[in-house]
């Protein structure tokens, strides 16, 4: 029997992106905008710059949403998630990961506590089904419901220093009262009780909003956001800028910096992994791995000679021996440098270590630099 090729998936805003003339690309089974036309202020570099200096909006509806609710929802989350969800007040969120028993990554996730016994996990597009099956399979002994709400929401990210200002025009919720990594609900574009989280994947301030996924509502909200954003020079942004923005901020991408063959210590995500929790999936393996000593570590590289390091390129030591590989590499439009993340042996991870990146057969000079490459400026009063 021949399996039918799964049809490419589209978000509710797909037609809007096409209408706007966005360049579309296939990403993990989804047809998504990679960049918008210059006539709309688009282009990867222009979009990236807009997010760093003003505001950009992204359709991120391809991401998934899993809801856990019930008397033992917290216990269920604590079992599958490496961070400590018991620290979350209602309305608070945290970055975390779901781990295999080996201490490697099923996915990274943002855990939101929406209510007393209600949690929302926002997960990656490419791992929607895998994560849902995983969460279901590993929480059945807990008294809570586990629901896949991924198709219920159109998720729009509004990111940049003016992001809050833009969104405030469209909602009655007092956004100044919502701290970073907290959420609120309010009336938005005439819709009631809409979830808005001060989260994002750009290393900037901003919000992500979750509106009903029907095409009409989604298009209306997207367009109202664009209109409200005109005074701030809002730019629609695609996956191209999304990737360069998160790379500058050293935010991991599943399948690159984190995967099922990489553990938490190697990825440098220690601070989101609460080993003081007596139990969670992957804990035992992580304890062993820590005792055995971590062999390789994720570092930031900056090219010192002409060339762009890209995903999968080999990293060499000064003598030309292969020591690792680039997990993500690209020009950094805001920093105006060529940067990369790469796994290298512990001994070669010190800032200032000179390495080479193999680009079309030639070793091109690079150096280990501190990360994140970019940190947003602190807002002054």
């Amino acid at each position: 029997m021949v399996e039918a090729t799964p049809a490419i998936r589209k978000t509710a805003l797909h037609a809007v992106h096409r209408q706007m003339g966005a360049k579309m690309v296939e990403f993990n089974g989804w047809e998504m905008p990679v960049e918008y036309p210059a006539s709309l202020g688009g282009g990867i570099i222009a979009e990236h710059t807009a997010v760093r200096t003003a505001v950009g909006i992204f359709d991120v509806s391809h991401m998934g949403d899993i809801r856990l609710a019930g008397p033992q929802a917290l216990a269920a989350v604590q079992h599958i998630s490496m961070n400590d969800a018991s620290r979350l007040a209602v309305g608070q969120a945290q970055y975390s990961a779901l781990l295999y028993p080996e201490g490697t990554f099923v996915d990274d996730v943002i855990v939101h506590r929406l209510d007393e016994d209600e949690y929302l996990l926002v997960i990656n597009a490419g791992t929607r089904e895998k994560d849902f099956s995983w969460v279901r399979a590993n929480t059945h002994e807990f008294d809570c419901v586990v629901q896949n709400l991924s198709d219920d929401y159109t998720q729009i990210a509004i990111q940049g220093p003016k992001g809050v200002n833009l969104l405030q025009k469209l909602t009655d919720a007092d956004l100044s009262a919502v701290k970073f990594y907290w959420v609120t609900r309010g009336k938005l574009c005439g819709l009631n009780h809409i979830l808005m989280g001060r989260t994002g994947y750009t290393a900037e301030d901003g919000f992500e909003i979750y509106v009903p996924a029907d095409e009409a509502t989604s298009a209306r909200v997207w367009n109202e956001v664009l209109v409200a954003g005109r005074e701030f020079s809002v730019v629609p942004c695609g996956l191209g800028a999304r990737n360069t923005l998160r790379l500058e901020g050293k935010l991991p991408l599943y399948g690159h910096e984190i995967s099922d063959t990489i553990n938490v210590w190697e990825a440098g995500l220690d601070r989101f992994c609460k080993m003081e929790k007596p139990e969670f999936m992957g804990r035992a393996a992580l304890e062993k791995a820590k005792a055995a000593g971590v062999k390789r570590t994720l570092v930031g590289l900056e090219m010192t000679e002409r060339g762009i390091a890209r995903d999968g390129y080999k990293v060499l030591d000064g003598g030309g021996c292969e020591i690792g590989y680039v997990t993500s590499g690209s020009p950094a439009p805001f920093l105006k440098k060529n940067i990369a993340l790469s796994y290298v042996p512990r001994e070669l991870a010190a800032v200032g270590t000179a390495v080479k990146v193999e680009i079309r057969g030639q070793g091109v000079g690079a150096v280990v630099v501190p990360t994140p490459f970019y940190k947003r400026p602190k807002k002054t009063a």
Partner: protein
């Protein structure tokens, strides 16, 4: 768009403008549009030998690396140094941004290339996919 008729084109979206035995090479407007923001152009050194149809360098956008294919065979006599510091000029004016000049080895190779009208038709078909 109407492509300049003073030159010939390849199916890989390079153009070559010929003056006597000197060819000037660049990429087309269609190429720069498809690539998006160009951040890096890698060209061979002066004196390098190019073979028609073979790769001679790369042009990189933020997201991707694209090979450059030689429209004709010959020896490289000049490289546009401006592209090392301002690769975005290719986006601004692809037909006015040259990458290299070469002394043609075999001018009859040009007969195999597309005219402006033929290239325009080719691009319209490609874009339709």
């Amino acid at each position: 768009m109407a492509y300049p008729t003073d030159r010939k084109y390849t199916k890989e979206h390079e153009w070559i403008e010929v003056n006597g035995t000197t060819g000037t090479v660049g990429i087309t407007d269609y190429a720069q549009q498809s690539l998006g923001d160009i951040v890096f152009v890698e060209t061979p050194k002066v004196g390098a030998e190019l073979t028609a149809g073979k790769t001679f360098g790369t042009v990189e956008s933020v997201k991707a690396v694209s090979d450059l294919f030689a429209p004709a065979s010959g020896t490289v006599t000049e490289i546009n140094a401006e592209l090392a510091t301002s690769p975005e000029k290719v986006n601004e004016n692809a037909h006015g941004s040259w990458m290299l000049k070469l002394t043609l080895k075999n001018p009859s190779e040009l007969d195999r290339l597309l005219s402006a009208a033929e290239y325009e038709k080719f691009v319209a078909e490609e874009a339709g996919h």
